[in-house]
């Protein structure tokens, strides 16, 4: 997987050089994506201006806007302007709402981040905890739990599980709200609002966690078992360390680099998953904005949302590289192969 690629890349370079190389790579990817974005939108059949200017405007208005948007400029000039706009986050105006896309995104971004961070943090924590537990006690219950959860994660499509949960806890036993990030109208008072938001967060985040923790647990458990079979664990026990110290200080600690990397490597996947989660739970976030924009053919909005998502993914990939480099001391010290 990505980890081997990282290890190969890293073994030859020192840390700083490694980081630099990864940064360049990230920028390159970003560049390719936005260029691709540009090309796709301009190469579509039909009048490309309909992608930027709402075709329902009068012809005079369209002509004016064409000039304003520089649609009559040669492609290269358009491209430069496009890049400039992206860098300054001038993402145009939504067709449906007539508001600047960047404003709409700013509104929705915190919600997405909240959902995302909560899901991700709890999935990782729960998964790792269960994995360590299962590795420490080789009893049958822990093993079945982990294997079962892992299989569950793999087999059941997230959105199906979320639909089921929504049906169950939103409709059948209506203890959770069925849509939105916050009630409309929102309750009075900061505490009440906070609680209300939490109430809305439970189903979306909870469903992600339940579906997701299995593969974490499985991976952690396998890694832990492998670590626990190493000789240095016998040394640690021989040194008279308590079982706890052996488990956490030695086994878990040496398993941490690949797990941490996994944490960051799975971020892009979670971004993708957020799109579906937001749609199902009608979460006021960037993912749902993307889907709605695409369905309504609101191209500036779709482009803007995609741009944001792409940045998020690239950044998280880069973070993964960074953190892996930090956490594995063999790379930090820029030493020879271990």
């Amino acid at each position: 997987m990505g980890i081997t690629a990282l290890q190969n890349g890293v073994k030859v370079l020192g840390f700083r050089a490694y980081l630099f190389r990864r940064a360049v790579s990230a920028l390159l990817v970003l560049f390719v994506i936005i260029s691709f974005n540009f090309a796709v939108f301009r190469l579509m059949p039909g009048d490309p201006s309909s992608l930027i200017i709402d075709p329902r405007f009068t012809p005079e208005a369209i002509a004016l806007l064409r000039q304003q948007f520089g649609l009559d400029d040669p492609p290269f000039v358009q491209y430069v302007k496009y890049i400039k706009n992206l860098v300054t986050f001038d993402l145009g105006q939504s067709f449906t709402s007539r508001r600047p896309v960047i404003d709409e995104l700013k509104e929705r971004l915190p919600n997405t981040i909240t959902l995302f961070l909560t899901s991700f943090t709890f999935t990782a924590l729960l998964g790792i905890a269960v994995g360590v537990f299962a590795a420490a006690r080789r009893g049958s219950f822990a093993e079945t739990l982990v294997t079962g959860a892992g299989l569950f994660t793999y087999a059941v499509p997230t959105f199906f599980f979320q639909l089921l949960l929504l049906l169950l806890f939103g409709y059948y036993v209506p203890i959770f709200p069925i849509h939105g990030t916050i009630s409309a109208p929102p309750p009075e008072g900061t505490w009440a609002q906070l609680l209300d938001r939490l109430h809305h967060l439970v189903l979306p985040a909870g469903s992600n966690v339940i579906i997701g923790f299995g593969s974490w647990a499985l991976y952690t458990r396998n890694a832990m078992l492998e670590a626990l079979s190493q000789d240095y664990i016998i040394t640690a026990r021989a040194k008279g360390l308590s079982e706890r110290a052996v488990l956490y200080h030695h086994a878990l600690r040496s398993v941490l680099p690949p797990i941490v990397t996994l944490v960051f490597l799975s971020l892009p996947g979670l971004v993708t998953g957020a799109v579906i989660t937001e749609t199902i739970f009608s979460w006021h976030g960037v993912g749902r904005y993307l889907v709605d924009a695409v369905l309504q053919q609101d191209y500036p909005a779709a482009q803007g949302a995609f741009y944001l998502i792409a940045i998020a993914v690239i950044v998280s990939n880069f973070l993964a590289d960074l953190v892996y480099g930090l956490v594995d001391p063999r790379i930090r010290v820029a030493g020879e192969n271990a």
Binding site: M1, G2, A5, S25, A26, L28, V29, V32, I33, V40, M44, L151, Y154, A155, V156, P157, F159, F160, L163, L164, L166, L167, G170, Y171, Y172, I178, S215, Y219, N222, L262, P268, V271, T272, G273, V275, I276, T279, I280, L290, V291, V294, L295, Q297, A302, A305, F306, I309, A310, A312, V313, I314, N317
Partner: protein, 491 residues
């Protein structure tokens, strides 16, 4: 010339390069190993069941996936009648009442005969004698018993096709009523024909405002609940009467269609337009399997080609391809699929292309790394020494060796493709003409399965997806274990 190169290139005493017979014995050996893995076998069995379902679709269900109004919207499955919520719910009842099925319960100066019409089949003919002015009109009352032991339905409808042959001064009235077990008569339709009339079809739907008015109900009331309030024996009554002095009146009736759309239907109920859900499920298997297989093969084919070229030729080409792969890997897959599918249009072929375009990378990497290690081997060197060209070497020597890996990857790629298609359909970006499980889920969500608590709409397609991907995963893992004992990658 070819033969000598092959001989040179064949590594000594290893079955690495497959000849024709080698392939067959290889398959046999593979199957022997695969059989021993219980999980793989379970997966295979499930897959075979799905394949049967896909192939035998037309025999597994009498309906077509887009046939509408087979029952009421969001009807529950037939077996739901054992659940407390649906006890006594009505199934769909359809009657086509032709000659011989009507009871002539009243007749004054009227009689019934039959006729046959080329277009409209068997006709019931009501013969009404002329009456003198001032006398009571000639009347025929045709009655058809309906035993209705269920809860009230939500709608009922009827279609009456009639033609009148009468003298100019005739005034013929037809009316259609439903008489409930208590004897209350509900007239839901009537019409008066002056003189003759050509074939006419009257469609009566209980949701129509005219019906509600006729029954004296408001716009918000439900005629069906009013009419079919009790359980028992009902009668559908068609009255034909006429006043004609100068001659007889003949009213010809084609088969009268009376339907009560049930709230129970089929194995899995109906969707929002009354289409059978079991049919959609069964036909959906075809799409999912085809998409899965095609997209996976496409993705792996691309990946293999790139992996081979990249690994074997090395250098700048390798760098280039790996960079491209890096870029593709860094792109968030679902968002880009969303955007691209919106632009390419909601066509099923696009989904296959898109999924393949963004899934080839892992295969490419894996094939490349194996190619790199194979490159060093003696038989490759020998082939080159004998003057074989690059393409030849890649096709004849490297590809067969890489093949087990490719196969394993293909099988493991299929659930990915299926899930992507399901996700895209679910978000509303799929092909609306093609019944897929993702589309079923989307419809369920958009058209009220939640509010109506119609879990039978939601669970089967989702479960179908789950089991199918599970089966592929099981098979893929088993295949991987058998073919590549050392390539068991963790995560």
């Amino acid at each position: 010339m070819n033969q000598s190169i092959t001989q040179l290139g064949t590594p000594p005493a290893r079955r690495a390069t497959r000849t024709r017979t080698g392939l067959l014995s290889g398959l046999v050996a593979f199957w022997a190993q695969f059989r021993r893995r219980p999980y793989g076998m379970v997966g295979l069995i499930i897959l075979i069941l799905y394949a049967i379902m896909a192939l035998a679709a037309p025999w597994l269900t009498p309906y077509k996936p887009d046939e509408m109004y087979l029952a009421d919207r969001l009807a529950a499955p037939v077996w739901a009648r054992y659940l407390p919520r649906f006890k006594g719910a009505p199934p769909t009842l359809r009657y086509t009442i032709g000659p011989g099925q009507w009871d002539l319960t009243r007749h004054e100066n009227a009689s019934l005969t039959r006729a046959t019409d080329q277009e409209r089949g068997e006709l019931t003919v009501v013969q009404l004698s002329p009456v003198l002015p001032g006398e009571a009109p000639a009347t025929a009352e045709l009655s058809f018993p309906v035993h209705y032991p269920h809860n009230p339905p939500n709608t009922f409808d009827a279609k009456i096709t009639y033609a009148v042959e009468a003298p100019v001064d005739a005034q013929t009235t037809l009316s259609y009523s439903i008489i409930d077990p208590q004897g209350t008569e509900y007239t839901v339709w009537d019409t008066t024909v002056y003189g003759s009339s050509d074939w006419n079809t009257a469609t009566i739907d209980s949701r129509d405002f005219q019906v509600k008015m006729k029954l004296g109900l408001s716009f918000f009331d439900d005629p069906a609940t009013t009419v079919f309030a009790t359980k028992g024996d009902y009668r559908l009554v068609l009255r034909v009467s006429s006043t004609a002095a100068s001659g007889p009146v003949r009213v010809r009736l084609a088969g009268l269609q009376a339907n009560i759309l049930g709230l129970l239907h089929g194995l899995l109920g109906t969707d929002h337009v009354g289409s059978d859900l079991w049919t959609q499920l069964v036909y959906g298997a075809r799409i999912s399997l085809i998409i899965g297989i095609l997209a996976a093969i496409a993705a792996v084919a691309i990946g293999t080609v790139i992996g081979l070229i990249s690994g074997y030729l090395g250098g700048k080409i390798d760098e280039f391809f790996m960079r491209v792969a890096d870029v593709f890997l860094s792109v968030p897959t679902l968002p880009i699929l969303i955007i691209l599918s919106a632009f390419l249009g909601k066509h099923i072929g696009n989904i296959v292309l898109l999924v393949a375009a963004f899934s080839w990378m892992t295969t490419a990497r894996v094939v490349r790394s194996q190619t790199l290690s194979l490159k060093q081997r003696a038989f490759v060197e020998a082939a080159r020494a004998a003057g074989a060209g690059n393409t030849y070497i890649m096709l004849t020597h490297l590809l067969p060796n890489v093949f087990p890996l490719v196969v394993a990857n293909t099988v493991l790629m299929m659930p990915v493709a299926i899930l992507y298609e399901a996700a895209l359909s679910f978000l509303g970006l799929g092909d609306p003409r093609i019944p897929t499980w993702g589309r079923m889920l989307q419809n369920a969500r958009a058209f009220g399965a939640f509010t109506e608590l119609a879990w039978w709409w939601l669970v089967p397609p989702g479960l179908a997806i789950t089991l199918l991907t599970l089966s592929f995963t099981l098979i893929g893992n088993a295949v991987n274990e058998v073919l590549n004992p050392r390539y068991r990658e963790r995560t």
